[in-house]
């Protein structure tokens, strides 16, 4: 069925602007006020902007085609509105209701004006119904897309946030890993670590996996790859923070970690790193006072060596 009656609809809008606004506003206000997200003035402003764009688009041609260029402005407005509501925390339904709330008031006006012209009433009802469905679906589509963007951005941020490379000492780097290691993360971790090795000229890097919840063969494979890449650059790797359960899993899985130095805690890995780089930490005068209470076992034993 053809969607016709653009000019007539435009007329309907202009002559009933105030009444449409009042009825639409009653429905919208209930949603917006309950959420407390959009002010009354802003809603009114949005509505008048929307209807004026709608009237322009409807008046452009007798045939109503949402996909034609005449509707470009309306699409842009709806896209902006949906994206904004997606950010403000509206649900997709509430966003689509921005458009759908106009249906009922419009049908009421149609019935009043075309009470004696049944064919025209049927035609226009069909046009309005189809058009507003398209408009509503369009808002939902844009809403979904902008939510998707938010998710993608958060994923990227998470990826960057979760892979810091820390310099513990001159020539010693630490890479505290938190969360599950997948291929994409391993790639980022590896690149960050290697870049930092080049920047700092570090001879030893400690990969701490205290925050890695599970180690399966794939994760172990990724770890070994990182170690191999660092070794190719000329830096030794120590894997630390292996929890008892993880040690058991690694052995049960038959993962071969014999070529890599492993330590239970970051502290003991650090001690090894200091020894290998020929450095030592000695207890200073500040610790003399607390020497009676056995200050730091690791550092004391290091000093003894």
């Amino acid at each position: 069925m053809e969607m016709v009656g653009g000019t007539r609809l435009a007329q309907l809008f202009t002559s009933n602007q105030e009444q449409l606004l009042a009825e639409w506003f009653a429905q919208q206000h209930a949603i917006a006020a309950r959420r407390g997200l959009v002010g009354e003035a802003e809603l009114r402003n949005q509505f008048s902007q929307f209807t004026s764009l709608l009237v322009t688009a409807l008046g452009a041609s007798e045939r109503v085609d949402f996909k034609s260029s005449a509707w470009q402005e309306v699409r842009a407005f709806l896209a902006e509105m949906s994206a904004q509501r997606a950010r403000q925390g509206f649900t997709p339904v509430e966003t689509a209701m921005f458009v759908f709330s106009l249906k009922q008031p419009l049908f009421a006006r149609l019935r009043d004006t075309l009470v004696n012209d049944a064919p025209a009433l049927a035609d226009l009802t069909w046009t309005i119904s189809t058009l507003f469905d398209e408009l509503g679906l369009y808002t939902t589509e844009v809403f979904q897309a902008s939510r998707e963007q938010v998710i993608v951005r958060q994923q990227q941020e998470l990826l960057e946030l979760s892979t810091p490379v820390v310099q513990l000492w001159d020539g010693i780097l630490a890479l505290p890993l938190i969360g599950t290691l997948d291929s994409a993360r391993t790639q980022v971790v590896m690149e960050n670590l290697l870049q930092k090795i080049v920047e700092t000229g570090a001879a030893i890097s400690i990969i701490d996996i205290t925050g890695v919840p599970t180690v399966d063969t794939l994760v172990a494979q990724h770890l070994l790859k990182t170690v191999a890449a660092a070794r190719l650059m000329g830096a030794d790797c120590i894997i630390s923070g292996i929890r008892p359960q993880i040690a058991q899993t690694i052995v049960h899985l038959g993962v071969n970690l014999t070529n890599v130095t492993t330590k239970a805690t970051l502290a003991s890995a650090f001690v090894v790193a200091l020894q290998r780089t020929g450095k030592s930490v000695t207890a200073g005068s500040a610790q003399d006072a607390s020497r009676g209470s056995r200050a730091s076992d690791g550092f004391d034993s290091l000093q003894a060596e």
């Binding site: 790639q187 590896m190 690149e191 290697l194 870049q195 090795i197 080049v198 000229g201 570090a202 001879a203 790859k225 191999a228 890449a229 660092a230 070794r231 190719l232 650059m233 000329g234 830096a235 070529n259």
Partner: protein
Amino acid sequence: MERIPILTMGRLLLVTIQVDMHDRLALTLQDDLTSRIVKDGARGVLIDISSLDVVDSFIGRMIGNTAAMARVLDAQTVVVGMQPSVAITLVELGLTLSGVRTALNVEKGMALLTGGGAA
């Protein structure tokens, strides 16, 4: 014909690869290097690949082979200055150069060779 220069530093040889390696160049380098190790009686070889941005499996294997040849001739080989991207590529290719020693730069590589010789 294009050749990669081999510099003598005491009893060490320094090879700096500054051009794109292609297969024939790599093979020529292997020939030159082995004959120089024998002729100079070198104890160590430093291969500086810091200017190398791209490697393929052939070049990767070539580096490993060169190190193995030098070892047979009783000269330690240290590969120095590998770029992060090159390291990742080699690991992805499954070439971890397990028999080859590595260092971050020429200075550290030299310390590795001279320090290892003294010990």
